[in-house]
Amino acid sequence: MAEVKRVERPLSPHLQIYRPQLTSFTSILTRITGNALIVGVLLAVWWLLAAATSPAYFEMANAVATSWFGDLIFTLSAWALWYHYLAGLRHLYFDAGKGLDIETAEKLGMGMIVGSVVLTIITLILV
């Protein structure tokens, strides 16, 4: 029968004594990039609203969006977006039960880091 098994399971080690690993690092970064993307979204949607409001308001919002500050937000957002994008693809792959051995998972992790930087550079050059 499907009884709940009461087993003494090992507790996960505390974060502070846990050796940093590529797999845990890339996982944490997925959460950070995903949530941080709200900043770029807010700036983008505000800019879009300004374009729909009036020429004067657009000029003000566009000045912010294309300033060094806007460039910084959108460049970081582009990287966060591509990183989160690749992490999502990896998650779908993991969900299919594939690539879960350490060697493959670490290769995928390196692929995400390198891939996100490459995609960001391509984005900055092309668009």
Binding site: M1, A2, E3, V4, R31, G34, N35, L37, I38, V41, L42, A44, V45, W47, L48, L49, A51, A52, T53, P55, F58, E59, N62, A65, T66, F74, A78, L81, Y85, G88, L89, H91, L92, D95, T123, L126, V127
Partner: protein, 132 residues
Amino acid sequence: MRYLTARKRAEGKGAAHTGTEHHWFMTVTSVALAFLIPVFVIVFGRALGQPAEGVIATFSHPFPAILTALTVFVGMRHFAKGAQMMIEDYAQGPTRKALIILASSISYIVIAVALYALAKLTMVGFLFEAMH
């Protein structure tokens, strides 16, 4: 011995007590975004930095407008549910509830603002064309 089926034990589990519904929602929206994001980045990236006329011209066309509406809607619901996961990991009790409501509210406000802006840009673009 309790005669519990595997399904009965799994029901109502998970941080939000909805079983695998949350996870499945994230899977479905992530696949949608995998298709939307690359196209949206190109459309948005090209519009950014243009004068007002260019921005209006871009977003008053059906494809960029519908693409942007879809990306913002699906993206913001994906954000709300994703942020909820983070909140459920780090906050408890009333703080947890308040933060989840806040994330959900931000997502719906951003969706409403974006849809309003797109609708108005379409009308402004239509008026521009009628005048010229």
